[in-house]
Structures are given as C-alpha cells and as structure tokens.
C-alpha cells in the first residue's frame, strides 16, 4: 500500500476516576498517502487531537494498529519510539512549544542534536531550515521576542530539520491571527510541494482545510465518510480536538 500513515480500528479510553471515563476513540481508521497534505476536522470531543497524538507516536492506544511508512509502530519500545520521533516524524503544536530559554536557531538545532548531529553541524542545518521559513534575520531571537507567526515558523523549521517523512500539526493556526495563519498555511503547502513531506493537520480553520488536498472528518471517536454539513464549526482558539 502506498499509504504513508495509516490507523486501523484505534480505540482509546481515558480513565478519569472510578466509573468515570471518556472513550475518546472508538475504532478510528484512516489512511494518508505519501506526499499528501490532509486535514482532520470535526467538532470538539470528536477525538481529532487524540488520534493525531497516537498516529504521531506521542501517545499509546488501547487497541488497533498504527502503520508508518509500511511499518507497524503502535507497539514499539521506548528506544524505537525515540528514534521515530527523531528521524521519521515531526510535530507542531497550537501553542508553538518552543524552549523559552533558547534562541530560534538553538531551538531548531536542538532537534538536530537529539538526532545525533554535532553542535556545528546541527547549527548549520538549523540555519538552512530557518532560511527556508524566511526567518534568517531572527535567528538569535528568543521566543518572547518573536510574534506568534514567527514562533510557529521556528516550530515548522524545527519539525523539518531532520527531514521527516511526515509532519503532524495540532491546530497549527489556532493561536494566530488570520494574516499569520494564511502565511503559515502557504508555507506548509510550499514545503509539501517542494520536499514531498506529508502533512497531517488537525484543524478548525476552513482556510487550512481548503488548502489541503483532502479533509478527513471525525465524529464521536470515529472517522466518518464526508457528510455534507452546512457549516464547518468556527475556529475557536485554544481548543484542542
């Protein structure tokens, strides 16, 4: 199969207390092709972010399968998972999640260093990727000295620096004004076209969905076939799936 990312029948339950639990995913399945840019959409509580985290190997599942690049990854050990996070998968978050005490270039280089590259090599790689996202002139700025859009660009650079096969994004434009959001979406599209990196984005933003190749819809912990809904829910900043 040419699908780069696929989830098969994924179940995930969060136990919050005695007799108090949430079934976030109830048999979710999807496939994303290599080189595709796909959006995952749905109302709050549909399980979008949970599914994204599981596909991106940040969280574990209760049952089901996750395949990345033709390899089954849901039952990997800690070391294998770490390797995956370094080399195959990139992640961007709604709240950017840059390390506040490090400059932009140091934040990006950090990912390269964790992947085993030496200090100088990592810095060079970071510099290169930062120029791709048009932030070369702000290399030495700390996150507090950058706007939201700029921070997210650093985060994209960080996700890109180890040339992953796929980048997962959890509401990447959630905390951005419309101008910056459009900017970010344009940038991701360009990267997708130029490098062939697959993008899987959870989003409420119709702009983002519109730019993607395909929109995957979820409801109540499952992926649904596209149903004609009269209104896509308005983007609510700060809301995770």
């Amino acid at each position: 199969m040419s699908a780069l990312v696929s989830g098969v029948g994924i179940h995930k339950r969060y136990v919050l207390g005695r007799d108090n639990f949430v079934d976030a995913l109830q048999g979710a399945s999807l496939e994303v092709e290599d080189g595709e840019m796909a959006a995952i959409m749905g109302p709050s509580g549909s399980g979008k972010s949970t599914l994204l985290h599981i596909l991106g190997c940040l969280d574990s599942l209760d049952s089901g399968e996750v395949w990345l690049g033709g390899r089954r990854v849901d039952a990997l050990g800690r070391q294998e998972l770490t390797r995956l996070r370094r080399k195959e998968v990139g992640f961007i978050f709604q709240t950017f999640n840059l390390v506040p005490s490090l400059t932009a270039i140091e934040n990006v280089a950090l990912a390269a260093q964790y992947a085993g590259r030496g200090n100088r090599e990592a810095r060079e790689a970071a510099r290169e990727v930062l120029s791709q996202v048009e932030l070369s002139d702000r290399e030495n700025h700390r996150p507090t000295e950058l706007s939201g859009g700029q921070q997210q660009r650093v985060a994209i650079a960080r996700a890109l620096v180890n040339r992953p096969k796929v980048i997962f994004g959890d509401e990447p434009t959630g905390n951005l004004d419309s101008a910056s959001a459009a900017d970010i979406v344009r940038m991701m599209r360009e990267i997708n076209r130029e490098t062939g990196t697959t993008f899987v984005l959870v989003t409420h933003d119709p702009e983002v969905a519109g730019t993607c190749d395909r929109a995957i819809h979820m409801l109540d912990g499952k992926v649904t076939p596209r149903v004609a809904r009269s209104m896509t829910p308005l983007r609510q900043p700060g809301e995770a799936g």
């Binding site: 985290h53 940040l58 969280d59 800690r78 070391q79 770490t82 996070r85 370094r86 080399k87 992640f91 978050f93 999640n97 840059l98 390390v99 506040p100 005490s101 490090l102 140091e106 950090l110 990912a111 964790y114 992947a115 960080r158 996700a159 180890n162």
Partner: protein, 386 residues
C-alpha cells in the same frame, strides 16, 4: 552556555540554593582546615618522636610529662645496652597563666644538648644560629612565638619575668618546636624552680632537675625494645618508645577530627536538600518543556543528563564560592592568631579539591531523583501540563 541559561532562569531561587551549598562548603573548608592542621601536627609529631625513646618520671601520667626527674638516674639509663647517648631536658609552660588552646601549649624546653649529631629531626633557622650549651642567658625562639614575644635576633625577650637574648629563630616545623622556646639546661632549671612550691624548694637540688631524658638508640636497635629494656633495668623511670607518643597524639585528634567533619557534613547535607528542592521545583515547572523535548526526539537518558548537568553546575558554583569564602576565613583567622601563636587553619590542596568535588557530587546525587522523575514523564501527559 545553554546549561547556565537554564540554571539561572529563576535567578533568586537558584542563588539561594547555591548559597545553601556555599555555606555547607564554607563549614567544610573551615572545619576541614582545622582538621588538616591537626593532622599535620600529628604527622610532624610522629616524625619528631620516631627513632627516640623518651624517659620520664615513673609517676608521670602521660607521655608528655612535666614531673621532676632526677639527673642522677642518667648514668643508669646510659648503661643499658643499645643506648648510644642520653640527653637530659626540662619542659615547662612558657607562661603560667595557662590559656586554653587547641594545639600545643607554648613551652620552654631546656636541654643539655648532648647527642645533637644523633638527632634525626633536623631543624633549620630562618635567622641567627643554633644554641650551644655555652649560651647561658640566650634562647632560640620557635616560628609561631616570634610575634607574641616580639623576638628579634640580637635583641632581648622576656620569659617568666627574666630577660633572655635571642640568638636564633627557627623555621616553621609544623610541630612542637614552632610553639617552643629553647634554652640551656641551667636556665630552664632555674625557671622550673619557680614552679616548685616554696616550702619544698629547699629539698630540691636545682642542678639535679630534669623532666625527661631523650635516649638515642645505637644503630640497629629498635626503639620499642630499648624502651622495654630501660624499664626493666632502671627503677623509678618510665621509658616510652615512639609508638606510644603516636598513639596518644592520634587518639586525641581522632575525636576532634570526627567532630569537625561531622559538623561540616551536616551542613552540607542541608545544602544537598536545598538542591533536591530546587531541582524538583525546576522539573515541575518545566514539565511541558520536557514533554516538548521528548516529542522532538530526546531520549530518557538525554533528559536525565540535562538535569543532572544543571544540578552539577549548581553544586560546582556553590563549591567554588564556599571554597573561596572558607579560604578567606581561614587566612584571616590565621593572620589574627599570629599574635597569640595560634594558627589553627591550614587549607591544603587536597581539602580544596575535595571540597569542590564533594559539592559537585552532592549536586549530582541531589539532582538524581528529580532528573529520573523528569525522564519518566510521558510526552503527551507532559504536554498537557499547564
């Protein structure tokens, strides 16, 4: 450096933690330097008494005796086989108002100066020359007493109310001679008489007075065996070999060492607890950051190493500042103590290095639990942390 930036993110908090370690190391350095000085005196004393047998009056309680011993016994001691030479001497306190001191009290040592060529403990002179038996009315002053007595070669000093001319000043030996004044036997005998109660003075023959004999063994004679032989052959005396001195010196310092290092250790442990607290808070506040680092590919080991490095840096900075302050305190205390001959502190290289190493290790050990806790966080759980 990134580690420093991470460490000093919360400046006040980390400075207080470092301060906690600094105080612990300061205590360690000050207490330790006292212990080091004492150890040095012990080592010096051990060298001083090795190879000799000391004979004192039979009634003396310890090996350091100021009980009167009759010189008439000297020929008897000399006749014991294995004895190369015997020298008679008197030891008495330099000043009769005995002030307490940790180390050796200042002493007057009078000697007939026999057997000087057999003496293994060589002394050197920073000024002047050695005393001879002809130098009645003159003295040689030990290094630590120079300031107290205002001693200068060619000038006079006052000892027990009498004037003596200084002919020589000793180099520092780090043991007994530093706090001693040396004089001829007749002079010392006269001073000793002052200590004898008036009523009994008529009964004592001044020229016969001594407090100890130094017995030099012939080459090939073991001092311990010789001491035993003397005890058997000569009644009314007590001969002790070098090991008895070394035992006695070591015993009294052992307890002091334990107390000093014990106090220092306790204050360091308090410093260590401070590091644990700070690192735990730091990990807690950076839970989200840890989640991010793991999400971008940090292994558990890398997270542990990161936080351990920060803890070690805190330990190192605290250790170095504690060392500097401790060294300053010891130096000032010694300078002030010069006047009364009390230099109690010695910051040795091994103490300095040991203190900093200990502080770093303390930081590492204290940071271990928080670091391991940080590493075990699951990325997605950590990322949800507000």
């Amino acid at each position: 450096m990134q580690i420093l930036r991470n460490v000093f993110r919360r400046k006040l908090r980390v400075l207080l933690t470092i301060f906690g370690i600094t105080i612990g190391v300061l205590a360690l350095v000050v207490m330790g330097s006292m212990a080091e000085k004492i150890n040095l005196l012990v080592a010096g004393g051990t060298r001083y008494y090795s190879g000799k047998v000391t004979v004192a009056a039979a009634s003396s309680a310890s090996v350091f005796s100021t009980q009167p011993l009759s010189i008439s016994k000297l020929p008897q001691v000399k006749s014991v086989p294995g004895v190369a030479e015997v020298s008679a001497g008197i030891g008495t306190l330099l000043s009769t108002d005995a002030s307490t001191s940790f180390g050796m009290p200042a002493m007057i040592e009078g000697s007939d100066m026999r057997g000087q060529d057999l003496e293994s403990f060589k002394v050197s002179y920073s000024q002047g020359r050695a005393l001879t038996s002809a130098d009645v009315g003159s003295v040689v002053v030990g290094a630590d007493l120079v300031k107290k007595l205002s001693a200068k070669v060619g000038r006079f000093v006052t000892i027990r109310g009498e004037q003596f001319k200084v002919v020589g000043i000793l180099d520092k030996t780090l043991t007994a001679p530093d706090s001693s004044v040396w004089m001829t036997l007749p002079d010392a005998q006269r001073i000793f008489m002052q200590d004898v109660p008036e009523m009994l003075r008529s009964q004592v023959n001044q020229a016969d007075l001594a407090t100890s004999f130094v017995v030099y063994p012939t080459t090939g004679t073991a001092p311990e065996a010789l001491a035993k032989a003397i005890n058997l052959a000569v009644p009314g005396v007590k001969a002790t070999g070098p090991s008895a001195f070394q035992e006695e010196i070591a015993n009294s310092t052992r307890i002091l060492n334990a107390i000093l290092y014990g106090i220092a250790l306790i204050s360091l442990i308090v410093g260590g607890l401070s590091v644990i607290n700070t690192m735990t808070m730091s990990v807690s506040e950076r839970t989200r950051e840890i989640g991010v680092r793991k999400a971008i590919g940090a292994s558990d080991g890398q997270i542990v190493r990161q936080f351990l490095a920060e803890a070690a840096v805190i330990g190192f900075i605290g250790g170095v500042s504690g060392l500097i302050l401790g060294w300053l305190a010891a130096t000032v205390a010694d300078a002030l103590g010069q006047a009364s001959g009390l230099t109690l502190f010695l910051v040795t290289p091994r103490l300095a290095i040991g203190a900093v190493v200990f502080a770093v290790v303390l930081g590492l050990v204290s940071g271990l639990y928080p670091s391991l806790h940080a590493a075990r966080l699951k990325p997605v759980v950590a990322l949800r942390y507000e």
